[in-house]
Amino acid sequence: MSGTDTATSSSAGRIQRRPYVVLDGVSKEFTSARTGVRETVFDDFSLTVHHGELVAVVGASGTGKTTLLHLVAGLERPDSGRITLNDDTLAAGSPTPGAGNSTDMARHRLGVVFQQPRLLDWVSVRRNLELALTSSGLDPAGADRALADVGLAEYAHHYPSVLSGGQRQRAAVARAFAVQPELVLLDEPFSALDQLTARRLRLLLQELWTARPRTGLLVTHNPLEAAFLADRVIVLDGRPARVSAEFTLDLSRPRTPEDPRLFTYQNEILAALG
């Protein structure tokens, strides 16, 4: 948090050259549930996300985008190689996935938006945020402001099942930002929503990002979404995955979804995807 600059419109000024997320020679293989064959998703894969930078990873399904995000979130461990967050090394090679005890990860506050909202259906929307806040050692009172920021103030005391799909995902975005994350991970955050709702949420996300710039990793199969939100777009391809193209988007924020330059980028990304 302390490292981020004040919000400036140009990405060049906001992004520091200091790396925040570093994947260094990471390898990961797993047994395919469908075929039962061992597949290498990453082999000696490296990637850097700098402080204050929002990097989008684009690729077809099955190229390991989500695995990449899970590795950074600590939900999966690499078979070999090193992953560091802000110079803290996450234990490599340890086979314990997810629920394990990773004290090294616990030092870093993450805000994660998954494809599905992943709210607890049996408590109110506000309680969902409060639980994340208190678990991060923050004042639960922040829940109301975070909900107001995404336009859900009046739904705070409702159960998530009362909300529409778009509202639920808004709540998930609110939760991710409420915990004052050092790193925001977005896993296909709007791909389960209809186009209009997805567009509104992208604008909301940009608004939140402009207000409080953070370091972020966005995984998406939507090149236009990547171009609209990211500072840098990385195209993943093949198995094991490799970076087949990389684009630095020199577009100031706020961006408009109709900006013709976005479509130029979209076409370039699509061409790189093959």
């Binding site: 979130a73 600590g74 939900l75 997810g98 629920a99 616990a106 506050r109 993450l110 994660v112 998954f114 599905q116 992943r118 607890l120 259906d121 049996w122 408590v123 639980l131 994340a132 208190t134 678990s135 991060s136 409702h158 159960y159 099942s161 009362v162 799909g165 939760r175 915990v179 991970l185």
Partner: protein, 298 residues
């Protein structure tokens, strides 16, 4: 009961797939009640007509049919309805009934509690650890197929008239079904929510309270209902063979005296008590704790 829920029915919450499989045992019951509660002026009358009328008709046919057969056969082995009724009234007014019922319920309660605790521990670990699952799987499958009568006989032989006898017999007959139910609930638990709890650093206590308990609740409650229904079937057997008190023992006395009306009244009264526990208490609890499922429409 939950006030706001009765009038709202219409749309079910679009619960995501994995959690809806987790609540599979309760889901049909919930959706089955939906058409009954449309907002109409004659709502209540119609509701009664649909739900109470068939049940009342059943009992009318049962009682009427019984009386007809009893009168036609004119045998002491088929007492007529008034005889059964007076026997029922007799039984209910005896202190013996309450002490017997108390003894039986205590045994069921202890045995069921033992089964429940064991099943929760084994069921959850089975759901999480492959080795443990494979280890206990044969035990659960064998346990499910062994008739309650066998447990009753074995426990009478092993433990005699001590309290251990009925408690162990009840536990052995209820635990396999309960374990299976809790194991399945654990398996159906949403791994996506577990990931969410991990990335947001939920403590173990928070996870247990806000993730595990609500996720497993449908499995716990449906397992409890199933386990209870198995428990009270076996306790009667145990008390018949090996105890000197309790509902089963009294049933055996009536049987020895060839008192059909006595057998029937003890059976009916015990069935009523167990039905109240099963459908009244447990189902009520289930409905209350599952409120969040039904507030979908506003």
């Amino acid at each position: 009961m939950a006030r706001p829920t009765t009038a709202t029915a219409g749309i079910q919450p679009a619960a995501h797939s994995s959690s809806s499989t987790g609540s599979a045992p309760t889901a049909p019951a919930v959706s089955g009640r939906v058409p009954a509660s449309r907002k109409q002026p004659s709502h209540r009358g119609r509701f009664l007509g649909r739900t109470v009328l068939p049940v009342a008709a059943f009992f009318a046919v049962l009682v009427g049919g019984w009386q007809l057969v009893a009168v036609r056969s004119d045998s002491v082995l088929i007492p007529d309805v008034p005889t059964i009724w007076s026997s029922l009234a007799d039984t209910v007014t005896q202190p013996l009934f309450y002490s017997s019922l108390g003894a039986t319920l205590l045994r069921v309660g202890l045995g069921f509690a033992l089964a429940f605790v064991t099943a929760v521990v084994i069921g959850i670990v089975m759901g999480r650890v492959e080795f443990v699952r494979r280890f206990f799987e044969p035990a659960v499958l064998i346990g499910l197929t062994v008739p309650g009568l066998v447990w009753a006989l074995l426990c009478v032989i092993w433990f005699g008239v001590s309290l251990t006898n009925p408690v162990v017999a009840v536990a052995l007959s209820a635990a396999p079904a309960l374990t299976l139910s809790i194991y399945q609930g654990t398996r159906a638990m949403d791994s996506e929510l577990r990931e969410m709890a991990y990335v947001y650093r939920f403590s173990l206590a928070t996870q247990l309270r806000y993730l595990w308990l609500p996720s497993l609740l449908p499995a716990l409650l449906s397992g409890a209902r199933l386990g209870l229904s198995l428990s009270w079937k076996v306790i009667v057997l145990v008390e018949m063979f090996g105890m000197s008190s309790g509902v089963g023992y009294e049933l055996n006395n009536q049987f020895a005296a060839q008192n059909v009306a006595g057998v029937l009244s003890w059976t009916l009264l015990f069935a009523v008590v167990m039905a109240v526990l099963e459908y009244g208490v447990l189902q009520g609890l289930e409905r209350r704790l599952g409120r969040w499922r039904k507030v979908a429409t506003v």
